[in-house]
Subunit: 365 residues, 2 copies
């Protein structure tokens, strides 16, 4: 293999793919990037067996071929070079790199050891605005369960429809659902559970992108494609909980509150809640929310925030973290909180908008 | 004790003092801030027994007295309040805090438990420009030894003279010395070893300050005073090494090099040095420095940088970290490196300036 390309192109590609490669005591090749040069360009690929990412960059190919070297080292080295022409040549398993007055050899491994990254046939494809999709992921991803004993809620449930997509995340104490329009929908509605780590990588690949992201589903894989980058990931086996049934359909109380003011009062109360339980008491009357907390070791706090209330006065106890998470992700200055009582879940929505809902289970007293 | 003050004043004071207070299983009071209200104002103090810091803020004192509560909690709570009047009252050992619609009680401890922070008599005082002194600390502090078995080099040697001050740090592999003018010197020359942690706090207290810092020495203590804040610290017992004798007085080779270009080449080479040894080879001839490194596991690198050389061609082997640290702290675009041979220390200075010197021991082959 022998090619030349600009430092800028190679650097951009390596920045995208290099951090999926990681040290693995059993399989050292997983720390490597596979470099394949042929007439379509220079393809850089890494994988952690759960997902694979590849990025094709342009260059002048003198001799087709492939090689594999430690991804981090290669990326760090290329990053330090000036933005000039870089000449790369494989010598047996090693890589020779020349750029101006800098000469380097990086030890590689046999390309035979590099795992095959599965291929997804582009049959069922959906299109979505990259920037919007990134925002949608960010607004639900924090609610995913860390609990490995329930793999079905350890990912984001992704429903792709004819006109829109729905992203759902829950840890069974709270649930976030975000609906987003598709630029091009699919013929049928499909739902898959996508690992959190995959969406973290998708968010990274969508940085500063104004194009459309292409999403392709196959039986066990999902692929995200944009601007020469393909990220392919397994999906999580299992049945996502029927979350529609827990969305409260009725309420006795609806309060409207300023998000910033409410959040600040909750943070003050959080300093005095019981650690581990994180409980804060909320009491709503005609004009005011009262936020109360106390901890015999630490002290106590009580504060008031102005609200508009429709329906009956009400009260409940929430984990302050869950409430703050929801408020921070509404993307609006005014929140609406709907309650039945202190036993049933509360529903938090963005005042006047319907694309985001957030459900919180109360702490039972 | 009963007083009121603005949230802004109280918040500023707590931000300065609160992080010296830390959890200590044997002495829980060390996590607390001591609040003393009298006619001179509201004095906030914390200590970790090695050093103590106090900040006096203005307020309206209704009843003199004192109290002590957990510093972090108090600071976090005050920080969340709006910039309005805060009313504070002690009730036995607890603190009642009122601000607008927020009512809080924080559990305290008896003020009798709070350690006495020593007092330094302002006899021998020196004055230095705060911003300059902060820059001077930053340019040597990284070179201090972490080695606890040699307490005398675990601090910054601080020499206060008639016209200027000298800060020296070493870990015995490299040494940094910075000289800075005093606004007001002392009658006699004095040298003390100041703990790193103390100077880290001094740097924090000097943030955004354009005034002069007052430094006072007593037998076992050093005090830094500025704008209502007093930081008092023990000094380290022991004799600082006679470092003057290791400063090279002669050289066979003097090279002048662009700091940015040289640093980049060293970073490239560092990727291929032997880990733990961090060795890079430097060869200097008439016009060029050649930087070489190799590691049988990883690969090898060689690059060239343009230099001006006076004297003989030369070569040496340095730990790349030490060399990069020195280059980064010269505060100049051009560096001058003076060498005798590959066995004696190298001397790095800022081209055309004499207030900073950096000495590196070579790695013997």
């Amino acid at each position: 293999m022998k090619f030349s390309c600009t430092q800028e192109n190679l650097n951009r590609g390596l920045l995208i793919v290099n951090h999926i490669a990681n040290k693995n005591a059993n399989l050292p090749i997983l720390a490597n990037v596979l470099i394949e040069a042929d007439k379509s360009g220079i393809k850089l690929s890494t994988t952690n067996l759960e997902m694979g990412i590849s990025c094709t960059v342009r260059g002048k190919i003198e001799e087709e071929g492939k090689a594999t070297v430690p991804a981090r080292l290669f990326a760090d080295y290329i990053n330090l070079l000036p933005n000039e022409k870089v000449d790369i040549e494989s010598i047996v398993d090693d890589l020779k790199i020349e750029c101006q007055k800098s000469h380097t050899k990086i030890k590689g491994l046999s390309t035979d050891e590099f795992p095959v990254i599965p291929h997804v046939e582009k049959k069922d494809t959906y299109l979505v605005k990259a920037r919007e999709f990134k925002k949608a992921i960010a607004s639900v991803i924090f609610a995913v369960a860390f609990d490995e004993s329930r793999p079905e809620i350890s990912g984001i449930y992704t429903i792709l429809k004819n006109k829109d997509a729905v992203l759902v995340a829950t840890d069974s104490y709270r649930l976030a659902e975000r609906t987003i329009s598709l630029e091009r929908g699919g013929k049928k509605e499909q739902g898959v559970i996508v690992p959190v780590r995959t969406y973290q990588e998708v968010m990274r690949m969508l940085e500063q992108e104004s194009e459309d992201l292409e999403i392709t589903l196959s039986e066990n894989q999902i692929q995200f494609s944009l601007g020469g980058v393909d990220l392919i990931s397994r999906v999580i086996d299992g049945q996502y909980p029927d979350y529609q049934q827990i969305i409260p359909k009725e309420h006795r109380t609806a309060i409207t509150v300023d998000v910033a003011e409410f959040s600040k009062a909750i943070k003050s109360a959080s300093l005095f809640c019981r650690s581990g339980i994180n409980d804060i008491n909320l009491e709503f009357d005609k004009d005011h929310a009262r936020i109360l907390s106390s901890n015999t070791q630490v002290g106590e706090n009580e504060s008031e925030v102005v609200i508009k209330l429709e329906g009956e006065p009400n009260k409940t106890v929430f984990n302050y973290r869950y409430l703050l998470d929801g408020l921070a992700n509404l993307g609006n200055e005014e929140a609406e909180l709907k309650l039945v009582d202190s036993v049933n879940p509360g529903l938090l929505v963005s005042k006047g908008q319907s694309d985001y809902i957030y459900i919180i289970m109360p702490i039972k007293q």
